[in-house]
Amino acid sequence: MTNLQSTAYFLPELLITGFAVLIVLIDVFIGRAGRNRVIWTLSLTAVVVVGVALYVQPVPGEALFYGSLAADPFSRFFKWIFLLATAIIYFISPYTRQLKDTAQNEYYLFLLLVMLGMFLMASALDLIIIYLSIEIVSIGSFVLAGFLKSDRLSNESSLKYVIYGAFSSGIMLYGLTLLFGLAGSTSIFDVQEALANLPQGSELMALVALVMILVGFGYKISMVPFHFWTPDVYQGAPTTITAYLSVAPKAAGFALLLRVLGITFGADPSIPWEEWVPLTGLPFGVLIAVFAALTMTIGNVLAIQQDSVKRMLAYSSVAHAGYMLMAVTLMNAQALQAIMFYLAVYLFMNLGAFVVAIVVHNQFGYDDIDDWKGLGFKIPLIAVPMGIFLFGLTGLPPTAGFIGKVYLFAVLIAAKQFWWLAVVGVLNSVVSLYYYMRILKVMFMDGEPVDKTVSDHPAMTATVLALMVPVLLLGVYWSPLLELIRSSLRIFSPGL
């Protein structure tokens, strides 16, 4: 599609940009008093307007801007995830004590821009857009992680984030150079064609490019061994941002990983892949399987040793990336479906757990697990949902986490491949039971019953309860979500 025609299907992104410019302008003209409120209202309006645009805009299933971006149901599904995550973070930000004394104009602006970057990540079809969108998300996240300027931990976390981020995107860029060198074009479909026609014996080139690109993507989804930034950034950043980073950019990373690796390193670019086959001579499945096993195991084992709740949830989010990577080994339609389902469920569970951590910090200022003693008696309205989120993260019925995990394991079982990986996955789920249940035990078993219960701002309580509903509901009645995902499994391909 030409540029002018494309703008008709590019409305959400254009609206985000428009609102971002509007926020910058308004920021200049209003006084300090009440500025946070005005900008917050404007940002929340932006999210709602973008949501409406996303809902009404037709999905042509074609490539926009001369083949740079895909407007397909696949990217639309991910855009809903990003939008939902951003909306929830916007909603709870004014009630977060950590952010009380800060000027939040830039905070809301950067969240909006990061969302724009993720929208582009989900639809990238071109090496330039891949790099550009990853960097838009990264640079915005660096600023957000260091948002508490006078807080040493926040400073440190953003420094580590910048160094790891710039380093891994540099390595990814070198991988992209190699792909460009092979194909002479920046379109991922041309790259696929070039890779498929490589002369015998030069598969090593494709493998080197794959590994280098995996460094960049792996950093975004915090895959071991590119996860080192995760615990530090998650602990130091403002908790709202931690919650955001653990959900939205991770989903964006998976969207990019599935589309780009699936097309570029697949033997056959016609989509959807009932049976996805990697390029001949490329050990794609084994490579990803090893990364998945490492990611799960290291994430879970290190999570056990943590005393800080935020750090523990950071390692747990590493482990969850590992569970989802299990399905990436096969990359067929069933795997894509399982990953998308898990990401949707994970959005609610993980955001829920982090919102609870924010509430506890608001009320008591705790971050250590041992300080959470007796919270089940002090704030029952928050502690009980936390229990449900933790059940979900462990993957126990009747929560949605269980269903999500069943689908992930079913991918491996149905394909009758990588049995060992499924076994590692199950063992890891058992390990994760230990540290999730430790929080539950501290909250409900330790400590004394108290006479007076505490409650946070009603907006926070409402958010926690609202996040609990889908975790429970999707655990017993998940077919609507599954139908939505099935209809979203159409990925753009020029052959169709």
Binding site: L127, I128, Y131, L132, E135, S138, I139, F142, V143, G146, K149, S150, R152, L153, N155, E156, S157, S158, L159, K160, V162, I163, G165, A166, F167, G170, I171, L173, Y174, L176, T177, F180, G181, G184, S185, T186, P231, D232, Q235, G236, Q305, Q306, D307, S308, R311
Partner: protein, 101 residues
């Protein structure tokens, strides 16, 4: 005289390795950023070389984007280093380790 492609790629990979080693072994945050810049410049060199080899401008267009984003990244990075230096009076990354269990 035409410089053959593999010579330029060799230089690019050499530069890239120097950059990677710099990131891994230098301790000053600013030097680390310089090393990352070396990595990105190696990438730019490789892009231009490949672009010339294929006889199209796609790679050279990519270089413009890389340079712009590298500048944006460093701008944010330096701002963070300054803010950290104000609080901790150091830019040595081995001394910055308040975040741990």
């Amino acid at each position: 005289m035409v410089v053959p492609l593999h010579h330029i790629i060799a230089i690019a990979s050499l530069l890239f390795s120097i950059g990677v080693l710099g990131v891994l072994f230098r301790r000053n945050a600013i030097i680390v950023f310089m090393s990352i810049e070396i990595m990105l410049n190696a990438v730019n060199l490789a892009f231009v070389a490949f672009s010339n080899y294929h006889g199209n401008v796609h790679g050279q267009v990519f270089v413009f984007f890389t340079m712009t984003l590298a500048a944006a990244e460093v701008a944010v990075g330096l701002a963070i280093i300054i803010s950290l230096f104000r609080n901790l009076q150091t830019s040595d990354i081995t001394e910055i380790h308040n975040l741990k269990n």
